[in-house]
Symmetry: C2
Subunit: 402 residues, 2 copies
């Protein structure tokens, strides 16, 4: 029994087959024996299911999905042929040896997220087998989105646009940032929003409801972002707060949408009444900067160049001290890959000297901070095409005043 | 600028001082040199701030909070005296050596959650310093809640009760599980719900909106729970789905609330019209089982005994095959610690032979699964007192039919 449309939503056999093939090519290129996929998002990507399971992918041959719980559901969700039930990690060596006739000569693990205790347990299970970090191989596979994945992201963009259309009706003087975020969240959930943004990495907790008004936009905080917002408390020091939204303030809405696992990011500006002129001018500057950056988005463009070009453009428009954060707190990227997780390739950031390729998707995060008036942001999720780019986010781009 | 009440919400100096002291006693007991706290929830617990920072706690002496971002906010949120800004992990050895005159003789890290790559980087930074798992020490400190923490949990329980009172108004035939979850989420956010449940550990993603109706309650899934619900898609295979709620079905609502970092868990049953008699009877049985288990809740009671006693009680009432899940998928705990994270001590589970102590808080998760009619649940968050127990969750305990 499942109330979602499996035909449409589960990656079909051909999709999974291609992904596994690319992973195996990556393993072969580094003369590795196998990879053991444990992180749930990678697991979903390569198997089609996110049940509690371990996916063993040999460099050559048929992968084995070992399901701890629940095997029935995993079989329904995954197109893989070779699925067995397993009691736990401890049973893997015997099972792998039984199925493949030997233990792999080396084993790739997701060392960017796998905790030390589990790693050491795996070392005790596979004595003498060298482990290596499989994440660099995995992320190379995941960085190019298929037509199937893009179709889901387009739908996520449509839902996001619908949710953004509700914002003017939610902006009532005296309501708090949280009230607006709550209204958006409710609508988004009814439309299929997972209500959870997945971000790769330790401590990388994410949430979807950045409704930030007035000087809360100048609150910096621990996030790797130009500003964090006030948040609810020191235990949740980011995003919306109980600050009431008042007339004449800038209201920034950066509300991620996640549909069927795939995420899009989008930022727009709003105000009750008329926002400060400084903020309105800055928003227009960000739109100009986006247009000039997008002119360069095409296969072959070097990722880190966008960061430097963006900084130059902002400086030329008089925003050197505000763009991507205030001095001392400026962030080191202008765009990040997005898809199943935030933190995928590509990063438009210094040191990222690889080039854009067709099928890459990234959020172009154009933000400024003004200590007096708060934050300004303009952000879209961009697909790199064969000849240029397309926007996957489609909310009205005007500065909307109600 | 902060729109929450810091006086009330930030643990005051005396609170943090006591926690640090207990951690240091734990370090001394194992003759360790120091602990380096990196996980954001532990960091909040021991420093009062959740900014991007590292907390170095020597076995004796004053701890050092090294803040990567944002130092200004960390100083405002944390009552610690010794706070410095740091560029990143790489700067820790020099900084610690400067501040303490030496590198610690051993260093505790949160090895249950710390990823391998960061561990190996720390090994390169502190060559020759033995590392050990600090989590067993930390969780011993965190397992006893202070009066301050309990006051926050009581408020979370009050918010939870208010959110549960909205459920009858949301139960309209034809609305989906997600619609009901969305309505609850919106209200909860307006009341200060973080809209995120924190659960300790790798892959332990949590969400708050378990509204599960009819046979979706018999959907098992990868969660370490008697059932998972249908969820939205294979990329989010747990919790509420787009299944419409119809008259005569059992509707289980397990909606966690997180306020100022502290969580409470609570499950109640609802129906439009009249639920199946089997479900109603089972709910009554769960209430009897809770009452009999609570009679034994007091300091000194052995945690694992509750699991076995609960199974015996359920069997005696004729529910051996349903209690805590169906055969082959029965879960191995009847209660779990709760506070800043799900996954704290105590666990009421086989092998957990330690005893209850005053100040412990746990969710008593009484659930049954019926393949034909779905899930039944009755759950409260319980505080162990000097003489017995108190409930921190207060929603109406009747089976509510609208």
């Amino acid at each position: 029994m499942a109330f979602h449309n499996l035909q449409e939503r589960v990656p079909v056999t051909v999709e999974i087959t291609k992904r596994i093939k690319r992973l195996q090519q990556g393993l072969q290129a580094r003369e590795a024996g196998a990879a053991l996929i444990m992180e749930k998002v990678d697991l979903f990507y390569f198997s089609g299911t996110m049940q509690h399971a371990y996916l063993f992918v040999p460099a050559e041959g048929t992968p084995l999905l070992m399901v701890k719980r629940d095997e029935v559901r995993a079989r329904r969700e995954s197109p893989l042929d070779r699925i067995v039930r397993v009691g736990g990690l401890k049973d893997l060596p015997v099972l792998i040896n039984d199925e493949f006739g030997r233990i792999p000569r080396s084993l790739g693990l997701e060392l960017d997220v796998l905790p030390v205790n589990q790693y050491e347990f795996l070392q005790s299970l596979f004595p003498g087998v060298p482990f290596f970090d499989a994440w660099p191989v995995i992320r190379e596979v995941r960085k190019i989105k298929s037509a199937h994945e893009l179709a889901v992201m387009v739908r996520a963009g449509q839902v996001a646009a619908q949710v953004y259309r509700s914002i003017p009706g939610l902006l009532i003087p005296g309501r708090t940032e949280m009230d607006v975020a709550a209204g958006m969240t409710s609508l988004a959930m009814s439309l299929g929003q997972q209500n959870m943004i997945r971000a790769r990495g330790f401590n990388n907790e994410m949430h979807t409801w950045h409704v930030v008004s007035g000087r809360c936009g100048a609150e910096i905080g621990g996030l790797d972002a130009p500003f964090a917002g006030c948040g609810l408390s020191p235990a949740f020091p980011a995003g919306s707060s109980f600050k009431p939204i008042v007339e004449g303030e800038a209201v920034l809405v950066d509300f991620g949408i996640c549909l069927d696992g795939y995420q899009v990011d989008q930022t727009r500006m709003f105000a009750i009444g008329s926002p400060p002129a400084q903020i309105r001018d800055a928003y227009q500057a960000l739109q100009e900067i986006e247009a000039l950056l997008l002119e360069r988005v095409k296969p072959g463009a070097v990722c880190e160049d966008f960061y430097h070009f963006g900084l130059d453009l902002a400086a030329g428009l008089g925003y050197r001290e505000n763009f991507l954060g205030v001095d001392g707190y400026r962030i080191k990227f202008i765009g990040h890959g997005i898809g199943l997780e935030i933190g995928e390739l590509p990063f438009l950031a210094p040191g990222h000297r690889y080039v854009l390729e067709p099928g890459m998707t990234f959020a172009l995060e154009l933000k400024m901070v003004f200590p007096e008036h708060g934050a300004v942001g303009f952000e879209n999720t961009i697909l790199v095409t064969e000849t240029g780019w397309e926007k996957l986010t489609a909310a009205d781009e005007r500065f909307i005043c109600v």
